[in-house]
Amino acid sequence: MSKQSRDRIFARLMAGSRQAATQTVTLNPMPAKTYQRAEKIDRLKTLMEAMRTEVHITNASGWVEQLEDILKQREMDSLVYPPQTALGEALESHWEKDAGGLPQLIPYETEIEAFKAKLFTIDAGITTVAGAIADPGALILWPTDKEPRLMSLVPSVHIAVLEADSIYSSFLEAMQAGKWSTKMPTNVVLISGPSKTADIEMTLAFGVHGPRELIVLILES
């Protein structure tokens, strides 16, 4: 069925193409703005905070302590994390030293089919991000086999760890610098804040289906 429909659709489109002479179009791309390093961090922070994201600027050595404070303030029971990553190892070694008052660390190490019921009960998820975009402020989430997609979506709190050096000025710059068009992954998501809606009387409300809270740790090297 699909094959014959396909042929008929294409036959009509081809005929239509011949009927209406194709215009040659020159595309004039809009020049994207570029920002200095400090401006990029500042812009990202301002724009994401305006979308009710909690942004902390910290450093590569002290970020776990910062995370510890954030977690303790919230009285969470469980945190899902990516094992076998630098992030995962840093968490494991910190928790081994002293896990008092901290949520239980739960590794995302099996396929979702064996983990889904558990995942839907976990309070928070932590992931790295591939980078961010200063204008408009958004994180670039590039899930991998080690950092699956649902850990940043299902738990009520998503904590994202971002290297300050991987912030791009614009979406276009991020695409071009990373040569996205030659290597799109299974899934890439831009995230600009916690889940929200304005479907009732245009009143903004946070935490509909995705995380209620988004916390970003920007690591200054």
């Binding site: 699909s2 094959k3 429909s5 008929r8 659709i9 009509r12 489109l13 239509g16 193409s17 009927q19 209406a20 194709t22 179009v25 595309l27 004039n28 791309p29 809009m30 994207a32 979308m51 099996t110 396929e111 979702i112 983990f115 889904k116 839907f120 402020g137 958004a138 899930p143 991998t144 086999d145 699956p148 997609r149 649902l150 979506l153 614009s170 979406f171 276009l172 695409m175 071009q176 996205w180 068009s181 799109m184 992954p185 299974t186 899934n187 998501v189 831009l190 600009s192 804040g193 889940s195 809606t197 304005a198 479907d199 009732i200 245009m202 009143t203 409300a205 509909v208 289906h209 995705g210």
Partner: protein, 476 residues
Amino acid sequence: MAIHQPVDFENNVSRALKDTQLIRNIQSAMDTLVLKRKTVFSDAAEIEKLRALGNSIKTNALGKLPELLQQLEEKCTANGIQVHWAETIPEANQLVLDIMKSHGATRLVKGKSMVSEEMELNAYLQAHGIEALETDLGEFIIQLNNETPAHIIVPAIHKNRDQISKIFHDNIPDAPYTENVDELNAIARQTLRKKFEKADVGLSGVNFAVAETGTLCLVENEGNGRMCTTAPPVHIALMGLEKVIEKLEELPPMLRLLIGSATGQLITTYVNMITSPRKPGEKDGPKEVHLVILDNGRSKIYADPQRRQTLYCIRCGTCLSHCPVYNRIGGHAYGYIYPGPIGKILNPQVEGLEAAGVLATASSLCNACEEVCPVRIPIPELIRRIRNESYSNDPDSAVAGHGYKRNWIESLTWKMWAVANTYPLLNAIGLRILGFLGAKLPKVGPLKHWTRYRKAPEFAPRSLHELVKQIGVDHE
């Protein structure tokens, strides 16, 4: 070719105009949307450049449509996405059902998709024993109340919070009555999370399909789109065949135009770019991704260079928000899933003029829609085209139902008018007679209809021509 009954537009409009609550709800929301759009599009020069770029991206994509669709199909297939083609709505529904059946699936969670509304997919699947659940909050509300969307972007905008509180309380087991928006959201969240966890298949629309990489781009704020496209083991994406663009780098400007126009945001909370099903080694994401590409009349519209511009539409809904007619009657009065200015040109072409041509009369041609359209569709020009087609007896016209409004009174009147204007003497005599008898014209035929809500035209006792001759023209 019409799938639906002809719309009873006149009665729909009368009913809507009497519903003061509806009009208040709609107008306050539209004011907000108009204002928010203005805030993110504050630099007029930049926005005009951006709209020109949006227009040329669509001109380019539609100019190469057959090639780009072929490329999209090849890329998607190479990436592991299964591509299906549906010429008609029944075929598209059947395709979705077949995919569900092949997995023994009975539970579907849906992200927002106007194509699925066009297909009336929910009713179709429910008739086949499948639970098709809307998860976008607005869509969820109206599904509970057995309604269709009243707006492309904010589907439940015709309801205020009191009405929504009642809908929740009456339809969701154990839901307490509350008018607090955060509590209403929490009820929806709790109800739907279980559904996301247990669903067999997730369904979504597509905002842009990128031919270069075989990527499906989907924007949303709630996270339900991510849920539907990630949590269940199978993902079905639905798109109209006009949604393809050529290059990935065209996404940033198109997203800025779509999002700014639709909700007045710089960027939505989530921008999903989906390029393949779960790869070996990856721990989650659907194992199968299906893309259903729907024609439903689009390829016929495509053949006409002027009407082709209808296919530029990116479904941002801003023409609805800015339309003085939409603002006074809301979305349901139009009788089709695409209301407002875009609906006035799209529905008559898809459903045929006899069924939907009347929609094109609901315009004062004020041009507000054209001024804000992010891809610069000349909507008023196309409304005039639909109006002309309604009277056209051109045998080459491809618009179904063309000439359905032709009648001898109007044809004769215009013929006489043409003759009278060819001969000055006849014109002068004619005007004299009209000046004398014009007020007494019998209210029959089109004039009877016209004067139901409007005053009949008044003819001056002396024509402009005469006055100019007598007094001259003041050039000051």
